[in-house]
Amino acid sequence: MTATAELLHRITGDEKHAPSAHSTLDVLWVLYDRILRISPETADAPDRDRFLLSKGHGPAAYYAVLAAKGFFPESWLDDLGRWNSPLGHHPDRVLIPGVEVGTGSLGHGLGLGVGMVLGLRAQGFTRTRTFVLLGDAELDEGSNHEAIAYAAATRLPITAIVIDNRSSTHGWPGGIAARFPGWDVSVVDGRDRDRLELALRPRHDRPNLIVATVAQKGS
């Protein structure tokens, strides 16, 4: 993990801030280190687990974890956003090995993830799990709520992770979980890797939400 911290510094050029400045880092590490059945060797296997970074903003932690796990050379991290770099300020699946979807415009990952779950099931890949990571502000986008309602109504086994750093302008009075009726819900400390693993590991026979709370943005 120290290696990941170094990679983060390398990609951001920022030595002052601790890795905890990156709200998604611990969730991403737990997913790629302990949960997802995916590796550079199986990045194209049809039955691989799927991880979709719906919240495409601030992908430094995502890139650092993918590099640490060997999906692409660490040297790529030095050229973020440059003309010939595969790494942009939002991830592009066409350019980056291991990236399942190109995102950036908020509110697209959950719909794509629902389609993936359905496509995998139709082809008999019942062991494959699909995870979608969103931000709490991303939930402002209405398209999410089409996917949330449909997944609940059809008992679709998809796992959504919402990183809650209270960045939504108008907030979610009553809590984020209340926006996911019909989903299994757990709320965990987004910095506690063991608890994150406990929340992420079990399979569910209906949609599953994990709210990972981290310090408020800017705090």
Binding site: L112, V114, G115, A149
Partner: protein
């Protein structure tokens, strides 16, 4: 009706090809009930959620299936435009979008259910093949061809049909030889033939306006071109201009006007209001060609 042909052919494809999937947003769900009973994993109705319909199609495609999606054009294209752009195009994924209700077919429903701009919107995106069948018997081959690859395909079904089908390819098909060229797209053929009856013009037909048959247009153009399409007038202006670049030509583009017609009635009434019935076309074509 074209829609029935779409239902029958797509139902057959679902039976024949395990790669075929269908995503609906309530529209036409009843017509696919038997297909859904046989293939519940591949016939999916997401409810009245067109953004999700397109997103799901993108997800299905990324797992290797070949998704068809279907609704009224204003919902499948206008409303879900960003999903078509990002969940398909940006992902380098494809799907077959089959719509009804283009232009003014939903005449009694009003402008909320109409999309004269669907093809123009798709023209802003990369890699869409656009089919505009002029007859129901032209539809099955389009769908079967689209099921065999992974590209982005749009099939625009309409109430208005020509008397006979002209199956086959994306080339301009010459139906009448004479003077200046009149190109009719899809269901515009019969009114164009009637409007130009007795006039010394060449009439060519296409039911696949994208990619546009630039080579065919160059071969048939001497100077004057009239392009008649059943959606927003001038939608093909850029394609025609590109095809004829560097060659002296005069061109007029006839199609659906930009102004909203706040009347109901039938599609024939709206065709008349936009000058796309035979009489209106004869007036416009005659004036442009001074015939």
């Amino acid at each position: 009706m074209m829609r029935d042909t779409f239902v029958a052919t797509t139902t057959d494809l679902l039976d024949e090809d395990p790669r075929t999937a269908l995503v609906l947003a309530d529209i036409s769900a009843d017509s696919f009930r038997s297909a859904r009973d046989r293939h519940p994993d591949r016939v999916l109705n997401v409810g009245i959620r067109e953004a999700l319909m397109a997103g799901v199609a993108g997800g299905l495609a990324l797992t290797g299936l070949r998704p068809f999606l279907h609704s009224y054009a204003p919902f499948a294209v206008d409303r879900a435009y960003e999903q078509l752009k990002l969940d398909l195009g940006h992902q380098d994924a494809g799907a077959v979008v089959v719509t009804i209700g283009g232009s003014y077919d939903a005449s009694e429903e009003g402008y909320t259910h109409q999309s004269p701009g669907d093809v123009a919107l798709l023209d802003t995106l990369e890699g869409w093949t656009v089919h505009v069948p002029g007859h129901r018997d032209e539809v099955p081959a389009m769908l079967r061809e689209a099921a065999r690859h992974d590209d982005r395909v749009y099939v625009r079904l309409s109430e208005q049909e020509n008397d006979r089908a002209y199956p086959g390819g994306g080339r301009l098909r010459v139906l009448r030889r004479g003077g200046p060229l009149v190109v009719a797209v899809g269901p515009m053929l019969d009114p164009v033939l009637e409007a130009t009856s007795g006039l010394d013009v060449t009439v060519a037909y296409t039911n696949m306006p994208r990619p546009f048959d630039a080579e065919g247009l160059r071969a048939l153009t001497e100077s004057d071109v009239v392009l008649v399409e059943p959606y927003l007038a001038g939608t093909s202006a850029a394609a025609v201009s590109a095809a004829l670049e560097g060659r002296p030509h005069r061109v007029t583009h006839l199609g659906v006007g930009r102004h909203e017609v706040r009347n109901y009635g039938g599609w024939r009434d709206h065709a008349r209001a936009h000058g796309l019935d035979a009489a209106g076309l004869r007036a416009s074509i005659g004036q442009f060609l001074a015939l």
